[in-house]
């Protein structure tokens, strides 16, 4: 697998990257809130045209699967599935926190977090790029003393190092793990919401 489009829409960042012949070519992104539905299709079109690449020439579509914003994830997943379906391309679904951890080069345990709402964060602990636990959605107070990396955490009153989700990282992770991730049964690929509604009553 050499030519892929990679999509990252789990947070306020809407980002798409093109890889050709296994190498990164270009990213288009925006951090304007709630603009994913408008921007993502336009970015996709511009990116493909700029590099004279057709969807039929792609080998796969990589998608950041969450956790993150419900609407953001659905917009990204819809476009990914739409593009994949048109030429029966495999989807490469990449966990958002796992990809963010690829950007962190420290050799001791640390948290990777995305702000969810109020004092709640999507959080997962990693050590040497291996998850130490499952991703959860927990109050920020429940994080232990390990250093925190992540995004949109300003509201949480904690010390953290900023790491932004990016489609470039999603694409790189997807290329490195393409064989394990490739999925053509699209029903099996869905956003990883983590905070699904519990309909009470």
């Amino acid at each position: 697998m050499k030519n892929i489009l990679a999509i990252e829409t789990a947070t306020n960042i809407c980002s798409i990257s093109l890889f050709l012949d296994g190498s990164f070519v270009e990213t288009k992104d925006s951090d304007e809130p709630r603009s994913h539905a408008v921007k993502l299709p336009v970015f996709t079109d511009e990116l493909l045209k700029a590099h004279k690449c057709k969807v039929s020439e792609l080998d796969a579509i990589a998608i950041s699967s969450g956790p993150g914003s419900y609407t953001g994830l659905r917009i990204g997943m819809s476009l990914a599935k739409g593009l994949a379906l048109s030429y029966n391309l495999p989807l490469l679904s990449v966990k958002t926190l796992l990809a963010m951890d690829m950007e962190i080069d420290i050799e001791f345990p640390h948290w990777v977090c995305i702000h969810s709402h109020k004092n709640m964060v999507f959080a997962q602990k990693f050590n040497n790029h291996e998850p130490v636990n499952d991703a959860t959605c927990i109050p920020v107070e429940n994080l232990d003393a390990a250093p925190v990396f992540g995004t949109e955490l300003q509201k949480c009153n904690i010390d953290f190092n900023e790491i932004l989700p990016s489609s470039q990282t999603i694409g790189r992770f997807a290329l490195n793990n393409a064989a394990a991730l490739a999925e053509k049964d699209y029903q099996k690929v869905s956003p990883f919401y983590l905070t699904e509604f519990n309909i009470s009553k």
Binding site: Y70, T71, G72, R74, H117, K118, F197, K201
Partner: protein, 140 residues
Amino acid sequence: MKSGWKGGVTSSAEETINLGKSLSKFIEAGDIITLEGDLAAGKTTFVKGILDGFNFDRQVTSPTFTLINEYEAQLRVIHMDCYRENDLQRWINLGIQDYFFSDDVKIIEWPEIISALIPKDHISITLKSVSEFERKIYIK
């Protein structure tokens, strides 16, 4: 929401608008406000007042058909009307969780229809028709 808002009895739509306006000073980012009351109790009229209080000078209309109206006022206000849609999954697909998780102010007419989805820490306001023109409006 800040405490201290007093409801009241109004005897015209204008008075209900003014009462809504008085509420807006107590509203904080992220608040979820539910408005319960029968047809024509004055819920939408009350929302007009709230938006007035946020210096929103464009039209505020009922979201009965659109389901959700978004207003870029002093605070961003999300105005929902659940009357027409009782399928909870459709509200979920619409992304109401993102609205509930956001700093926007959420105001919901006919909340009883989707009560299973509304976070517990919301502010519940009731509007009761006392007579043709009188409305009793209070926090539950």
